[in-house]
Symmetry: C2
């Protein structure tokens, strides 16, 4: 396992994390994802962590980094499918995933991304500038 | 890694196979997938194998089984994202994945599933029977 696949679905990219992340895999994912955002002009990234039973500070930082990278490339990002036990552990560890949007499943994540895009569009157009989204 | 996550996207289910399959994992996937098809009334299953670099007879048989199971439960299925080298090896091994639909990526797979559903609908309605899809 040397890289995590990134699926394209319309304007969104979907990443399903199923294996334990290590340094090199996380770096490769960040590289692949940023390249894919620019090559596909994606508007949003969904990161599914439903099969992760442990989210430690390394994964937490990686999720934060990916969100920030997507944001500066003009794409939203949502972490979906977090298991209840993971949410409990995260808060107990003091990791609150600041700056990372979350949703219960892929569909709700997509709705959230669409709302973000619509809000941006509305904000930009009411400022008098037209930006194609 | 004891199970492969199954994502729900509208009427479709998405499975991304990223790890080497072994007997138990394949059985668990078949169980989970058939249960999910019945509980969500899914109309189609997308199986992404873009990160598999080897598809042997075991995986080939598993894909065939999953397709057949989905079919008897009233859902279509498409295997998406096969790497070119995998296609070459499959044919050289004499594994032609009979009965398994394939598409280049998730989007094309979804289009194929939608066409299948439309075709079934047309077929059923022109026979004089109405079936809700």
């Amino acid at each position: 396992m040397d890289r995590i696949p990134i699926l394209t679905m319309g304007h969104f990219l979907l990443v399903t994390i199923q294996v334990d992340m290590h340094d090199q895999l996380a770096l490769t994912l960040q590289d692949d994802l940023t390249n894919k955002i620019t090559s596909t002009l994606a508007k949003g990234v969904l990161i599914d962590i439903s099969s992760l039973e442990i989210v430690d500070s390394f994964i937490g930082r990686m999720l934060g980094n990916i969100s920030s990278m997507a944001r500066v490339l003009g794409a939203g990002s949502v972490v979906v499918g977090m298991q209840p036990a993971v949410a409990i552990t995260l808060v107990e560890l003091g990791l609150s995933l600041t700056g990372v949007y979350t949703a219960l499943d892929v569909e709700k994540g997509m709705q959230l991304l669409r709302r973000q895009i619509d809000a941006d569009f509305y904000h930009l157009t009411t400022d008098g500038n037209f930006v194609e989204i």
